[in-house]
């Protein structure tokens, strides 16, 4: 009974996705839109898979991946450290909390021109933008998770003679893990999107650059391909992250 319901729900879920693809196909075939403006999904996906075998395309994807992960990793380290430190020290929290409150709603992408002016047009400015964008959700999630940790846990550790700093990293941080990982997952998808946008704004390589190059040359099919690539990448990273998360959170009560 349950399995039947699950399958029927999955079928219902497939309807809008297939429907959209069918609509795309229908509009492209009906002649309402010329192929130069709207290529059929078949053509686009064929080109996508063909490009997956092209070394030049993969080079661009590798550049994007490098920037994404460099930025994301630094954002995780900074976000978690700052978040934990703010829970551990009241004085530090008094400084960090207002700064975060001011900077969190600022559209980080607006900083990008300043970053290119100070760090140059290469990797550094893009990585810095990814850090600026991905760090805040991770920091906030770490802070919220760590402040909700049962204080008795930390007290016991302290009573057993563990130093305050070690208590933060060996007791509070692991206990706050579910929240930290939620923040990190949001940060990961944000990194993925931001690195692509930064490459679209100014770049000479990367997937975002491929989209802009195709746009300048009116190669519509090639405009769709990087967009599909980055979205697939986001979906894959999301799925991968969920696997890692399940691994790391074994023993934690199931959420939702």
């Amino acid at each position: 009974m349950n399995a039947v319901r699950q399958w029927s729900e999955r079928l219902i879920g497939a309807v809008p996705i297939i429907g959209l693809l069918a609509l795309w196909q229908a509009i492209a075939m009906s002649g309402l839109a010329p192929p130069a403006l709207l290529p059929t999904p078949g053509v686009v996906f064929a080109r996508f898979f063909q490009q997956l075998g092209s070394p030049a395309f993969l080079d661009h994807a590798a550049v994007t991946l490098y920037r994404l992960f460099a930025g994301f990793m630094i954002a995780v380290v900074m976000g978690v450290t700052l978040g934990i430190a703010a829970v551990g020290s009241r004085a530090f929290a008094a400084i960090v909390t207002p700064v975060v409150r001011v900077l969190a709603p600022v559209p980080k992408i607006a900083l990008y021109p300043a970053l290119t002016l100070t760090l140059g047009y290469d990797d550094a400015s893009k990585i810095a933008l990814v850090i600026a964008d991905a760090m805040f959700p991770i920091l906030l999630a770490t802070y919220q998770g760590a402040s909700a940790v049962e204080p008795k846990l930390a007290w016991s550790a302290r009573a057993a003679g563990v130093s305050p700093v070690r208590t933060l990293f060996t007791v509070v941080l692991p206990a706050a893990m579910p929240s930290v990982l939620t923040g990190a997952r949001i940060g990961l998808i944000i990194s993925c999107i931001v690195v692509f946008l930064a490459e679209m704004i100014t770049s000479t390589d990367g997937l975002g650059h491929l989209l802009m190059r195709a746009a300048r040359n009116f190669q519509t099919v090639d405009m769709f391909v990087p967009l599909i690539a980055i979205s697939m990448l986001g979906l894959m990273l999301n799925a991968l992250f969920n696997l890692v998360r399940r691994r790391l959170l074994r023993g934690f009560p199931e959420e939702k």
Partner: protein, 260 residues
């Protein structure tokens, strides 16, 4: 110190001041051409804000943002509420949302411009797409968490399906919906700036890059400060509105700091 931090509004102001001081010191320390000190960039702000052309440009940007955001509200909130109350609606929309979630919406700008031209329509559509997901998501979460008993009482009193949605689910889910509205508002600003930076054609994002190309670095930084202030202004303004409307609910904290 504790006394000082308990004055509302003071810590964020001090934080702003601190950021400006750090900026000033960094700029003086490095002496980079591309990093003018705050004392040079900030005086440009009144210049920009009194310049008629850039004011019109910014006004146009904000108008498009308001339209895109308003349209998204009208469509996304009902969908989200419906998803929260109907298993089938949730099963229908959820996978689609999951697939759309990692697509960079502002990156659709070049493709949409190909179809709809460089006018208002494409820019508004991109903003609409950028804010729809968080609005649906939060309305869905809010509507899903509505207490069944409220709905039973409402049906017992003879309210039909639509009336229940409008008079029970909507108010009960309002705190969560407003969280989505706040995230969406900041996201609308982000999407607007990003898509204008990509399209390089008009609006706030374009002013930044035009001044960048002209080498007017003071103006670039002044514009960044203006955009940042807009973000903070929306955030604070919405928080005030939220307290007015749903002061009865616990202040929910959100970590859905989004990106277009």
């Amino acid at each position: 110190m504790t006394r000082l931090t308990s004055i509302p509004g003071l810590p964020p102001l001090l934080a702003c001041l601190g950021i400006l001081v750090v900026w000033e010191l960094l700029a003086r320390w490095y002496g980079l051409n591309g990093l003018p000190p705050a004392s040079q960039a900030l005086p440009q702000i009144p210049h920009i804000l009194s310049d008629k052309e850039s004011l019109i440009d910014m006004g146009e940007s904000l108008r498009r943002m308001a339209i895109g955001y308003g349209l998204a509200l009208l469509i996304a909130v009902p969908i989200g509420l419906w998803m929260g109350r109907s298993r089938y609606a949730a099963a229908f929309f959820n996978p689609l949302m999951m697939v759309i979630y990692p697509v960079p919406k502002a990156a659709l700008m070049p493709i949409i411009m190909l179809w709809l031209g460089v006018g208002d329509a494409s820019k508004t559509l991109v903003i609409f797409l950028g804010v729809t997901l968080p609005l649906i998501y939060h309305s869905y979460q809010g509507s899903r968490a509505v207490e069944e008993k409220l709905l039973w009482s409402a049906s017992a009193m003879g309210l039909g399906g639509f009336a229940r949605l409008w008079r029970v689910v909507l108010p009960a889910a309002l705190p969560e919906i407003l969280v989505g509205c706040k995230t969406g508002l900041v996201l609308a600003l982000i999407t607007m700036v990003t898509s204008e930076m990509i399209a390089r054609q008009a609006g706030i994002g374009n002013i930044v890059f035009v001044s960048l190309d002209l080498g007017a670095y003071d103006t670039v930084y002044a514009m960044i400060v203006i955009i940042g202030m807009l973000g903070i202004l929306f955030d604070v303004g919405f928080e005030v509105l939220r307290r007015r409307l749903v002061g009865w609910a616990d202040s929910p904290h959100t970590i859905m700091v989004g990106s277009a």
